[in-house]
Every structure is written in C-alpha cells, then in structure tokens.
C-alpha cells in the first residue's frame, strides 16, 4: 500500500493545485471599469443634461404645428400612440433621487457635502425632480410617482392620479425653496453654476407655472399657490440651456439636421407671423430657396414628399446649423404671460394684464433679438394682437404659441390648457380619432411588465390613447 499512498499524494496534490478548497478570490469581482462611488456633482451634471432632451423633443412642436415634417409625416399625423417614459425614471430621476439619498444618509452626507451644502443639494435635486415630473405628467397624465424610484423594494410601482401628483409637486417645490441655506450651492450645476438665488427664483417660477396649469380644475389652489410663488420672487432673465460646440453636447436640432432635412416651419406659423407682420419670422425661419420668401410647410399631409425642400422655409440656421445654439428652459416671456393671465383672472398681482401681456411679447422679441421700439409699438396695436381682457385666452394663447417656438412640450401643454390658437388637425391624420393628441399613451412595456397597475389606471383614468384629456385639461 506504500505505492498507493504515493498515488494518493499525487492525486491530492493535483486537486490542491486546483485550489478547490479556497472560496476566497480577493477583489477579483470588483468592476475596474466603473466607479463604485459617485461624487454628487457628477450625478447632478448628468441629470441636468436631460433637460436639453426634454425641451429639444420634436413631438410638442409638431402637435402645436410650430413645425411641419417634410417628407416623412408620421409624428405630425399622430402615428405614434405609445411613448416610453422609462428613460426619465432611470435617467435623471434616479440620479436626483440618489443625490437626495447621499445627502440624507448619515453614512454619506458628510462626504457629499464636499459638493455643496447638503440642504442646497437636496433643494436643487427636489426642484429638478419636480421639473421632470411635471413635464412627464403633462404628457402621460397619471404616473408611478409615490411608489416610483424605490428599486428592488418595489418593482411594480402603482400609479398616482394627476391631481395627487400636482398637489405633491407644488409642495415639493415650496419645501425645496424653503430649505435653501446659506451654505455653498452644488458643484456640477451647469444651469445656474451653483447660484442658490437663481434656484430659488426658478423653483418659484416652476411653482407659479404649475399653479396656472391647474387653474381651470382647481382655481382656489391655483390662485393661492401662484400668488405665494410670485411673491417669493421669480426669474427675471431667460433661463437657458447652454449647448457646447461638441457633438456630445450639441443642440439636438443641429444633430437632426446633420444628415436629414425632416422639419420645416409650418404653414400655420408662417402664415400667422406674416399676417401680423411679426419680425420674429426672420429669427425663426429661413426664406425658401426657390423663391427667397417665407413659405410655410403644409402640416400633416400624406403627400408631403411631393413638396421639394427648396420650396419651403426651414428652421433658422441659427439653430439647425449652429452646434452650440442654446435652448430656452424657461423665459421671462412665459412669466409675463402667466402674470397677465393671473391679473386678468383677478388674482393679487401688481400691474395690469395689458402691461404684462405686452411685456411678454417684448421679452420674446428681445429673446430672439428682433426688438425694435417702433416696430413693437405698431405690432401691439395690430387688431389681431392688441390687448382685450375679454379675449385673453385667445390673445395669450396665440402669443404664447409664438413665443414658445421650439419649446415644444411646454407649448403643447399651454395650447391644451388655453385651447388657442385654433389649430386644424392634420388633414391626413392616421390616429383613429383624427384629432390632435391631448395626451400620450403609456409605454407598451408597461403592459407587459406592470400589467396589473397598468390595467387599474386605465380603468380609472380612461382609455390609454392620444384622445383622453388630462385631469387639468377641462376645456
């Protein structure tokens, strides 16, 4: 058996070679390709870049007929019903929630404070969360909200109805502004550079806008929130998203036009601007190549491909051929039009409705670099423009529609609320109703992955299509 012992020692040695006894691999399974910890400033920058996506999306500018598609007219014929909202949760909202968590958790808040005071970082994250959630609820209506962003704790978040969401958004913005302290503003803030005064004003402005959005369904809340927000101080300069001369951070419209020519200025927009001799036409559009004049692209027709690109006016070169053209996040013009409406509704806001209305137009002209005092005086006296408090919705709606050029989803929301200007649905609409969409349907994945909640909200809110009006859209 001596020989056998030798054999067993060889076999045992062989198996030891296989290292089979050891279950410890050190840090071999730690991913060297991605960091395990994140400075909150980098999370904030990432979340803020999504603002550019939100404003730069094409659907709103098409639904409101600011632009027309040229050859392929699917979106302007309401071809798409379901829209994916998951990226907003997994993208900016997850980051912002993580900023809040890292600044709240005792284990991480001290480290996080290196990027600005905990309170200020949380305040900014809450304001931005509210910004994205309002953007989303105005597209889809009810949303996973109070149960969202909980990770493994809830893989099937239920929906909150839009009234609940709006109530909480108003509260969130209010609380966020209130918690701003004298400490440092956040690092990595590419919108306001960490200036907390600007964040407070932006938060108040958002709150004012949210309040006005619900003014038809809940006028009492709308008024009190609006007045409080206004009195707390709102923005006095346009809040812009600065694009860079870099393909990763370029204006999205520039990116769309590198290889394609899909969007021209629509016939209704060009015709309106021409009818009132509005100088913004030259800031919005280029003359048609064939004629040298401004010609709008007919909206939502199936034979759009028959119209040569040379026959219509495209978007200004200052946007589609300018890589770093900025985009408006929220403008003074918007603020003034909100104030005009509030005063006209009898809310306690200083100034007259007409002053605010005209200031809104002026702010928009200045924003687009076309302000001229003489021309302006003529313009505001035009029969189609001149202030008339009994026709406020139409005047404000129409001026907002013009002023919100290229701010598509906000323009669409305000058009749904004010119902002006009167737009004719796409002649060759392919949705079953043939009407201009008043909401977007939930992502198809929601049916497959979150079926029970999906079915219960559809039962509560109504058919999941483009035609079912949102809670605040009562008119």
């Amino acid at each position: 058996m001596i020989k056998n012992n030798k054999i067993f020692s060889i076999i045992t040695a062989g198996l030891l070679l296989a290292g089979s006894a050891c279950t410890d691999f050190g840090d071999i399974n730690v991913d060297p390709n991605q960091p395990s910890n994140a400075p909150t400033s980098l999370l904030l920058t990432d979340a803020q870049t999504w603002v550019a996506t939100a404003i730069g999306a094409p659907e709103g500018v098409l639904y409101t007929q600011q632009l027309s598609e040229t050859q392929y007219t699917e979106t302007s014929r309401y071809n798409q019903t379901t829209f994916d909202y998951y990226p907003w949760y997994t993208g900016p909202l997850a980051n912002l929630q993580q900023i809040i968590n890292l600044n709240t958790d005792d284990a991480t808040k001290n480290a996080a404070a290196a990027d600005g005071s905990n309170n200020n970082q949380i305040a900014v994250a809450r304001i931005m969360k509210a910004y994205f959630f309002q953007y989303m609820t105005d597209r889809w209506g009810a949303l996973p909200y109070s149960e969202a962003l909980q990770g493994a704790a809830n893989f099937n978040p239920a929906y909150d109805t839009q009234d609940k969401i709006y109530a909480d958004l108003l509260k969130e913005v209010k609380e966020a502004v209130a918690m701003i302290d004298a400490g440092a503003g956040p690092n990595g803030d590419i919108i306001f550079g960490g200036d907390m005064g600007s964040w407070a004003a932006f938060g108040n402005t958002l709150r004012m806008n949210m309040a006005m959005r619900i003014s038809d369904i809940d006028p009492a809340t709308a008024r009190s929130e609006f007045e409080a927000a206004y009195n707390a101080g709102v923005i006095s300069t346009d809040v812009m998203y600065n694009h860079l001369n870099d393909a990763n951070n370029q204006n999205p419209w520039y990116g769309r036009f590198i290889t394609r020519t899909d969007y021209a200025v629509s016939e209704p927009m060009i015709n309106y601007l021409q009818s009132v001799n509005d100088p913004r036409i030259s800031a919005y559009a280029e003359p048609a190549l064939a004629t040298g004049t401004f010609v709008g692209m007919p909206y939502g027709i199936s034979t759009a491909g028959d119209i040569p690109n040379s026959d219509v006016s495209f978007i200004t070169d200052n946007i589609i051929n300018t890589k770093d053209a900025d985009q408006a996040i929220f403008t003074v013009a918007q603020v003034e039009f909100l104030l005009a409406e509030a005063v006209n509704d009898g809310w306690s806001i200083p100034g007259t409705a007409q002053q605010h209305y005209e200031a809104g137009i002026q702010a928009s002209w200045e924003q687009w670099g076309v302000f001229d005092a003489a021309a302006f005086a003529t313009y505001i006296a035009d029969a189609a423009v001149v202030w008339n408090g009994t026709n406020a919705d139409q005047l404000i709606g129409t001026q907002k529609w013009v002023a919100l050029y290229m701010q598509g989803y906000e323009a669409w929301a305000e058009w749904r609320r004010l119902d002006f200007p009167a737009l004719t649905p796409a002649p060759d609409a392919v949705n079953n109703s043939g009407q201009i969409p008043v909401r977007q349907a939930y992502p198809s994945t929601e049916y497959t992955l979150n079926k029970a909640n999906y079915e219960s909200i559809v039962a509560a809110q109504g058919a999941d299509n483009l035609d079912n009006k949102l809670w605040w859209d009562t008119k």
Partner: protein
C-alpha cells in the same frame, strides 16, 4: 464535499486494486480492423480467471498474467470476441473486427473519453468529419445545421461573409439566450460573436465579425459530439448547462512513411432569395413628374433650355411615383458633369436592378495535412487557407489555419502530447446589417424601382466627390452640382468608401503529460489555453451622407485551464470499472479598447483617432473571472449489457458572492443493452437508457457590486449616472435538473436503426437580468428567480433500403420537438421582456417569457378584432367574432399589446439520402423547420416604400391598386366594421400600406421552411486505377449549398437565415442580407 469525493474515489480504487502474484506483464494496443482507430473500453481477460483489464482512451492495455501464460479474451459489444494465446509474447496488439450483427458506435463523451455508445445512459449524437465537410462549409457551427436532432442552427446568410451562426440546443432552457459550450480536444474555447461596439439591436450599422468557433478549421475535425443535455454534459459543470459541442480533431497514427491529405474546393455564390418587386411605377410620391423651373437669378444660363423638363422626385426613396412608361425624364445622373449631363432618358423599368447590384462571390479553400508516426511518436500537421470574396462588392475574407498535434511516449509510462491551432482571419468590408444602414437596406427597402444599378457603379466625380441618386431639391434650386445625398449614400460609395477592416489572431491548444502510475491508473496534467486578439477598424468616409468617422477597437480574450485528471480502469470478472477524478482551475481575462471620433474629422480623409474634431469616445474595459472545480466520475459495466455512471462536480466561482460561491451537483445514468439477452435475429441491437442530472451555474463577472455609469463629460465637467442595472449581492448559483430516457434499437442486421430520446429539464433559481419597469429607477435587475421547463423528443432514424454489391442507399433522418414553458418568474412578476424588438414608435414589438406560456412570445401592435358583447358587456357568440375590424374609412383599427405568436419552432430536423454506386456517390441533405414566428422590417418597408409586387398588383376590378379609388383602383379590404357588419372598402394603395406602419401583426411571418441545403456528387477513382500511383485515394465532387428553398411562407426572405447581427434572439430582421446559393467543386486526394 471534497473530502467525501476523495474518500469515495479512494474506496473505489482500493476495492479493485488488490494485489496478486505479478509474474509477467502483457501490454498492447487494440485497434479497429475497419479503420485502424484505437479502441477504448475493450475488456481483456485471462481466460478462466478474473484477471483482466480494460483498454484506455488510446486503446492500450496492460495485464499481469502468470508466468505460464494462457489465453487472453478480447471482447466488446459490437466486436467479434477474439481469443489470443499468449505464448512467450509480452506485447500483443490486436485489430478487432466488427461483429456485423452487432455493430456499435464509439462516441466521444465528456472529458473527451471515447466510449461505446451502448454503454451510455444519455443521448450523445456524433457527426463524423466527412459528414460535416460534405460541402466544405467554412463555419463549423453552420456545418451542424440539421444534422443533429434537437440542434437548431440559426445561420447568417452566405452574403454575411463569415457572419455569426447561432446554435440553440433543445430549444430554450433558460430565460435568456442559451449557447452551448464548445470544447476542442478538451480545451473549452470561446464562441462569442463579435459586433462593432456591443450594440446588439438591429437598429443599424452593425457589422457582424462572426462567431469565434468559426476559427476552427473544418479539415482538422475528426468528429463532433453533441452532448445535448445536462446529463451528458454534467462533467463540464456550469458551462455544460446548455449542452456541449465536443470537437475531436484528427490525430496522427503509426503508419509507414508520411501521409498527406489534400483538400481543395471552390464555390461560387450568387444571390438567391430576394423579394418580388413591382416593375410598373418608379420613384416618387405621386404619378405626375415634377418639372424643372429655370430661375435666372441663380441658375447658369445654359439651364434655361431645360425649363419645363420632366424630373424625378429624387428626394423620394420610395416608388409611389409615375408609371415607368418610357416618358423622357432627367435621371439623377443628368445633373452631374459628364456624358449624361443635361440629357433626357426614358423612364423605364429595371426589373433586376437589385439582383444586378450583387457580384458573384467566390470561396476557394485549400488544405494540406501531413501525418505520420511510429510506435512511440505520432503527429499531424495541417495547413489551410480560405479566400473568399462576397456577393457584396468589395467584401473579402482571408483565413489561414495552421495546426499541429503531436504525441510522444517519453518512456514506457510517460506520454506527452501537445496540440496547437493558430488561425488568422482578415476581412475587408464585412457587410453592415440592419435597418437603415448599408446598401442592402437601402435597395431592398427604400429605393426607386427605375434606377439602373450599373449607372451607380461610377460613384465618384473626377474630383473624388460622391455621385448619388438621392439628390436634394435645394441643390437643383441653387444650380450647383449635387452636394450631399439625402437619406442614402450611393450604394457603391457605401461599399467602397465606408469601409472596415478586421484582423483576428486566434491561438488555442494544450500541452499534457500522462503518467501510468499503475497498470490501471493513469494520471495526467493539462495546461490549456485559448487566446484571441481581434482588431477592428471602421471608416465612414468624408464626403458622404454621414459625418466622417473613424472607429478602432481591439478586443482580447484569454481563457486558461489548468487541469488534473486521474483515470482508473479495471475489470473484475463480469464487472468493469472506469473512474476518473479531476480538478481544474479556469481563468478568464478579457479586455477591450474602443475609440471613436466624435463630431467628424478635422482633416477629411485622414482616418485616425487623432483627427477627431471633438473629444473622442474612448472606452477601456477589462475583466477577470476564475472558477475552481473538482469532479469525479465512475462507470460500472456488468457483462457488457448493464452500465451505471455517476458523476459529481463542485465549482467555486469568483463571480458569485463569497458566501454562496461554492456548489456541488451530481448526475447518474444507466444503460441496459437488452438485445444481449435476447439473441434475436430481427433485433440486432437494443438498449434502453435513463439519466438524471443536476447542474449548477453562475453569472458573468461584475454583477454583485453597485457601480455608476460613466457618461460623456459636459465640457470639463464629468458625468456619472446611477447604473440602470440593479446589482445583487445576495445571488445564489442557479440549478437545472434534467431527466431523460431513451432507447436505441437496430434491426435486420442494422439495416434499420432508431434512436428515440425524451427529456425534461427544469431550470430553477435562475440568475436573470430581469427587465423591470423603469419607474422603479432601474431597467434591469439581477435576481435569482423563476423556473423554466423544457420538454422534448428527439428521434434519429437510419435505414439502408437497398444494399447490393454495387449499389447502396442510406437514409438518415433526425427530428426534434421541444417545448419550453415558463413555470414561474420572480415574485409578483408575470412577464419577462426578453427583447424589445421595435421601439414604441414602430409598434413596440417585444419578445417575452410569460408565466404559463411558451418561452418567446411576441407582443406588439396588432389588428383590432371584433368581439360581440351583450348589454352587460359579456362576450357572446357572433359570426364576426375574431374578424379584423376597420374604421368608417376602411382603415384597420390598431390595437396595442396584441399577442402575436411564439418564436420557437415546433419541430426541426433534417434528412440525408446517400446513394453509392460503385465509386460514385450522391448525397443530398434537406433540413426543415415547422413553426416559429419572426418579424420582417424588410417586408414592411418593401410594402410601405412601394417596392413590393403587392403594391402594384391588379385588384378584383381589373385595375391597378394604385389607380384612383374612384376609377376602380385601390387595395380591396374585406373586414367588419365596429358593429361586426361585413364591409368592403377600396383604399388608396399608399395610404393602405403606410397605414400598416407600427401594425406589427401585418409583418409577422411563420418561419417554417424546407430547404435543400447540401448536395454532393462525388467520384472516387477506383483502387485498381490508382493502385500503381503514389495516391492512396482521389475523390472529385460537385458540391452545392442552399440550392433550393423548397417551401417557405414568406416571399423574399429566407426564414432559415433570419439574422439581426450578433445579438438578440433572431426574432426579427431588418435589411437582412439576401440568401445566397453556392455551387462548386471539391477535389481531395491522399498520399
């Protein structure tokens, strides 16, 4: 557990290793008299005693006998038992003959051990090298197509030039994609597929750099064993869960002189399957021609004469335009300086313009192999090269294979072996796949039917700028030579200027030492390695539609295995034993360097990362993984008709949390050769088998700890994002359980054979990257959850209906049915999204695993169908129930989230007929599939863009569907209205077809097919003719591949070649490369 294993192994050894008087030692080698191959597992017994041995893997045995000698009895199922008197000899080699009434196969099983098929308790199907090489298919995975029951090969088109070929064993056993493990002579090798940048969706731009198993030279393959289920593959552990493709290469053998085998083939590839096009209407959106308007302010004076000329709507990449009736028009090329400048030509059809675009591809391969050896050493070396030019102009691939295999007996007891394979693959301009990219996509989906492809071949102006057909109206209005194409580059520019080059070096092999410790006990050590370095460069040329771009990518992969194996075999009386005990350490290393220019190139035509206008995208990736394993097997045989195998394996994986990273799993199988007891003249062989196995498995590295995604910086400000994948620090190994029973019977002196196998595999506690609602903040989560059950039946049938001295006819048929059902998912979840195939904008088609249903369900946009209800909303019977509904204008009503069938086929298989007449042979191989669905983007746009024949057919009014509805034209739609009343509408053709965008159901197809895949007619020069020459054999043949798509349910798409590039489930195609038919010849000779 390790202790337990060691102890049991030790017990086994001691039981049968008792000492007896050792007076003489006889050794030798047993070979097959038929082909000289070594015969493992043969029982060698001293007659009248219990002394004996079993031959090892190489057919060697050693037995101790009394000094007076005696008689050795050699026996094995299927071989004629022979008795040999020892006399004074110490070496007795024996060539054993087949018992023709008892023919049995030797197959290669786990750990590379050759065993008699009769002794196995599970199904293993082996395909010999000559069957694989019937038509000189260059990708070994492709050569398995249809040849093994239960193996579904999903191939890329021949046009893909070495594109990825996927393989699926026994349907889907996991909730994700399940690829089997590839093993070459015991060395596990990578069969990853390589795409350009990890994008797997068919969204466009993918070049498919092929699956790595295609580096194996088919000429080096002796046989491939397919270990289909966990039972057969149990010893491979976690990676065997989806089966194992076991490749055994050719070896040298002792022979006189040096042997030489030469194999040459040349095949010619032509595009075969293309959709049917309409040839009535040309490019445009309406049936009138646009006309040229002269504008003196901008246009050159000479253009004045053109005023009023008919143009084409060049901007249209669709063919809803005017009739191709010969009207004189300004074709696209008349706007460029040159012979056609300013000229009018008739607007007329070009029916073969798409087919004419393609070249005839040529594949030529040569292989020469040398082999030789004596009693102590033998070797084989092989050199091969393959040169291929694709059907897509400008695409070419070159491959060089070198391999060497040598064995030397260093001493009586010590044997060494080394084998190495090196492959270099270089390709230029592998085709781009997918919708919206590359010429096939443009010509098959978006094109003007009148375009003469030959005129596109001149794709450059004298100054090097591009000539293209898709002119912009802006350029004509401005009076300039066309500047930039709209939507599509000239397809030839795309091929010749938007280029790619790739180069892969692959080296794999092993070295080993074996030592015969005892007569019955051999120990071996192996070091195995598989390495590749893949370099890829892609260029988007300056002057094209897209921003110019340069991309470079280097991937490396390395897997090393350090293996120890002890093998013990012994025969005592009627019982034979084979046992092994092994250990293995596996280490994987991968790295990836990706660099891409951003924002265009600063110097046009200078293709380098340094030319990036903006900060380039650079990504480095590296990963490591280690698995430590011990395993053992024991096989017991009783009287050559009853067998029992047990195996056990324990793995420790670095990719699982350390608390849960070790796991053990066993298998047991048994075989009973009942024909041994029957002695029937009808039943020449019969056995039943049964097996049970458990198999553990882990996950890839880096799925435990939370990390952040690194984004592109904003200026100098960095960006990090919360990872969309939720990691899991509490993961456990997943387990699969497999049961199978089968029988193998042969009748009438083996003229008929039948092998039937049924199996059931349950995978529980699966490790899944589960798609979760994004509203949770995550897109996917790594979880242990769910159970999937696969059940199936595999049948192999062989027959020789005719066999005379000169003529024989053999039939080999295999078929398999598999059903994979999702039993459960994670708590509270009813559906797992396997793949989002189309975005919501395109109808949102997805592939899903849903509880209680078959794996792989399509859900997407579909037709709304009528269902009658009573006043309280309950469904009631109605003759219109289930009929497609239309709205008042006659358009289909669209419904979201409709179930649209299942991906997996009901039945797959193949049939081979081989006829031999004297020295002439004909072999034809047909494969088939029944069931399974796929979505075709190509068909959708073929219709929408007015290319397909259907868009210009004659309706039941005798009018073209494109004629005005008022004139009797239009597409007839018979459906029901929203109240269930039957209605008939005629719809304007373009509105009808564009109305189907996003209506996924309209373009779902049944993937059933029957295909004549391989044909070979060969002639071997008779022995009396070459007897006096140095040639051992000469064979010439005509070969054909993909000759005839006999049956298909979809026009213009080959359902057996649905490919979306490297990733995904091949559930959909978009711009798929056309099917290719190959015909050629093959010459083989041996010296």
């Amino acid at each position: 557990m390790k202790k337990y294993l060691l102890l049991s192994a030790a017990l086994v050894f001691m039981l049968f290793n008792h000492a007896w008087a050792q007076e003489r030692s006889i050794s030798g080698k047993v070979t097959s008299a038929d082909d000289g191959s070594s015969m493992p597992g043969v029982t060698v017994v001293l007659k009248g005693t219990s002394i004996g041995a079993v031959t090892d893997l190489d057919g060697n045995y050693r037995v101790s006998v009394p000094s007076e000698g005696g008689t050795l009895v050699f026996s094995f199922v299927g071989l004629l038992t022979e008795e040999v008197v020892i006399g004074q000899r110490t070496v007795i080699d024996l060539a054993m003959k087949s018992d023709i009434t008892q023919l049995s196969e030797v197959v290669v099983t786990g750990l590379g051990i050759s065993r008699q098929e009769s002794s196995l308790g599970y199904a293993v199907q082996e395909v010999s090298g000559d069957k694989l090489a019937m038509v000189n298919e260059t990708n070994i995975v492709g050569s398995l197509t249809g040849k093994v029951a239960g193996v579904q090969v999903i191939g890329a088109s021949g046009a893909a030039l070495g594109g990825s070929t996927k393989i699926r064993l026994r349907g889907a056993t996991t909730l994700g994609e399940s690829s089997p493990l590839f093993v070459v002579d015991g060395t596990p090798i990578s069969n990853e597929s390589i795409g350009p940048d990890g994008r797997t969706h068919f969204g466009g731009g993918n070049r498919d750099y092929g699956n790595l198993a295609s580096d194996i030279n088919p000429n080096d393959i002796e046989s491939i064993s397919v270990l289909k289920g966990p039972s057969a593959a149990a010893i491979y552990g976690q990676r065997g869960a989806n089966g194992v493709i076991l490749i055994t290469t050719k070896k040298g053998s002792s022979r006189q002189g040096i042997g030489l085998d030469y194999n040459h083939s040349t095949t010619f590839d032509k595009v075969y399957v293309l959709p049917s096009y309409q040839n009535t209407y040309g490019g445009g959106y309406s049936q009138t021609f646009p006309t040229f308007t002269y504008n003196p302010a901008v246009h050159p004076a000479e253009w004045a004469a053109w005023d009023g000329q008919n143009m084409i709507n060049y901007a249209a990449d669709e063919s809803w335009g005017p009739k191709m009736d010969g009207t004189l028009v300004r074709h696209w090329d008349s706007w460029y300086p040159g012979d056609e400048y300013g000229k009018l030509r008739p607007f007329s059809p070009n029916p073969d313009n798409v087919r004419n675009f393609f070249d005839t591809g040529v594949t030529s391969s040569n292989n020469v192999a040398f082999s030789g050896g004596n009693n102590d050493t033998f070797f084989r070396m092989s050199l091969g090269n393959t040169n291929q030019t694709g059907v897509l102009p400008g695409s070419a691939l070159k491959k060089v294979n070198v391999s060497f295999n040598g064995t030397a007996k260093l001493s009586e007891k010590l044997t060494s072996n080394a084998s190495v394979m090196y492959t270099n693959t270089q390709a230029n301009n592998r085709p781009r796949l997918g919708y919206g990219s590359g010429p096939v996509s443009s010509m098959n989906q978006w094109f003007q039917r009148q375009i003469d492809t030959d005129r596109l071949r001149n794709y450059q102006n004298a100054d090097g700028t591009q000539r293209f057909w898709n002119l912009r109206a802006e350029d004509i209005a401005s009076g300039v030579t066309p500047q930039q194409p709209l939507y599509w580059d000239n397809p030839y520019w795309d091929l010749y200027e938007n280029t790619s080059h790739d180069n892969r070096d692959r080296t794999l092999g092993n070295v080993s030492l074996s030592y015969q410790l005892l007569e019955n006990l051999k120990v071996s050590g192996f070091v195995r390695s598989d390495n590749y370095v893949q370099r890829i460069e892609e260029i988007t040329a300056s002057g094209g539609l897209e921003l110019d771009r340069y991309l470079s990518r280097t991937l490396t992969g390395r897997e090393n295995n350090y293996e120890f194996l002890a093998e013990y075999n012994k025969s005592v009386g009627d019982i034979s034993i084979n046992a092994t005990l092994g250990g293995n350490i596996r280490k994987n290393f991968n790295s990836h360097l990706f660099e891409e220019t951003v924002g265009g190139l600063s110097t046009p035509g200078f293709y380098d990362i340094a030319a990036s206008k903006d900060r380039p995208d650079v990504d480095t990736y590296r990963s490591q993984k280690e698995v430590r394993s011990v395993y053992g097997t024991a096989s017991f045989g009783y009287k050559e008709y009853l067998y029992l195998d047990v195996t056990g394996r324990r793995d420790i994986s670095s990719s699982l949390p350390s608390a849960n990273n070790a796991y053990f799993y066993p298998s047991i199988s048994t075989s009973f050769v009942f024909s041994e007891l029957l002695n029937s003249s009808v039943l020449s062989f019969g056995k039943v088998r049964a097996s049970y196995a458990k198999l553990g498995s882990d996950i890839s590295q880096y799925n435990i700890y939370t990390t952040y995604d690194v984004g592109n910086p904003y200026g100098s400000t960095g960006r990090l994002a919360v990872n969309n994948k939720l990691q899991n620090a509490d993961l456990r190994p997943q387990l699969s359980t497999n049961m199978e029973v089968g029988t193998n019977m042969r009748f009438l002196s083996d003229r008929l054979g039948l092998d039937v196998n049924v199996y059931k595999t349950n995978v529980t506690d699966q490790i899944l990257e589960l798609t979760v609602p994004g509203s949770s903040g995550f897109s996917t989560a790594i979880v242990n959850a769910g159970e999937i059950e696969s059940k199936g039946l595999e049948v192999v049938f062989n027959a020789t209906p005719v066999k005379t001295a000169d003529f024989s006819w053999d039939i080999n048929l295999n078929g398999a049915h598999n059903q994979s059902t999702v039993i459960s998912l994670a708590e509270g979840l009813e559906n797992r999204e396997l793949q989002k195939i189309l975005s919501d904008r395109w109808g949102g088609l997805s592939l899903n695993a849903r509880v209680g249903e078959k794996w792989g369900q399509f859900v997407g946009g579909g037709f709304a169908r009528y269902q009658a209800t009573d006043a309280s909303g309950n469904n009631i019977d109605h003759p219109s129930n289930g009929k497609i509904m239309v709205d008042a204008s006659g358009f289909y009503i669209y419904e979201q989230n409709v179930e649209l069938g299942s991906l997996l086929p009901e039945f797959t298989g193949g049939i081979r007929n081989t006829f031999n007449y004297k020295d002439l042979s004909l072999s034809a191989f047909i494969d088939f599939q029944k069931g399974g669905q796929f979505f075709s983007v190509t068909r959708m746009f073929n219709d929408m863009a007015g290319q397909s024949a259907a868009t210009a057919e004659i309706n039941d009014n005798g009018k073209n569907v494109r004629d005005a509805v008022a004139d009797g034209g239009g597409v007839r739609v018979d459906a029901v209205d929203e109240s269930g009343n039957p209605v008939t509408h005629y719809l304007d053709a373009v509105d009808y077809y564009w109305g189907q965008f996003g209506l996924n159901e309209a373009y779902m197809y049944d993937a059933s097919f029957i295909k004549l895949r391989e044909l070979r007619v060969g002639y071997s020069l008779p022995a009396n003719l070459i007897g006096k020459t140095p040639f051992r054999s000469i064979n010439v043949a005509v070969i054909g591949k993909n000759l005839w798509l006999i049956k298909t349910n979809v026009d213009g798409i080959d359902p057996s070649e649905i490919s979306e590039g490297i990733g995904g489930f091949n559930a959909a195609e978009g711009g798929v490369l056309p099917g290719v038919r190959s015909v050629g010849f093959n010459v083989r000779f041996g010296l």
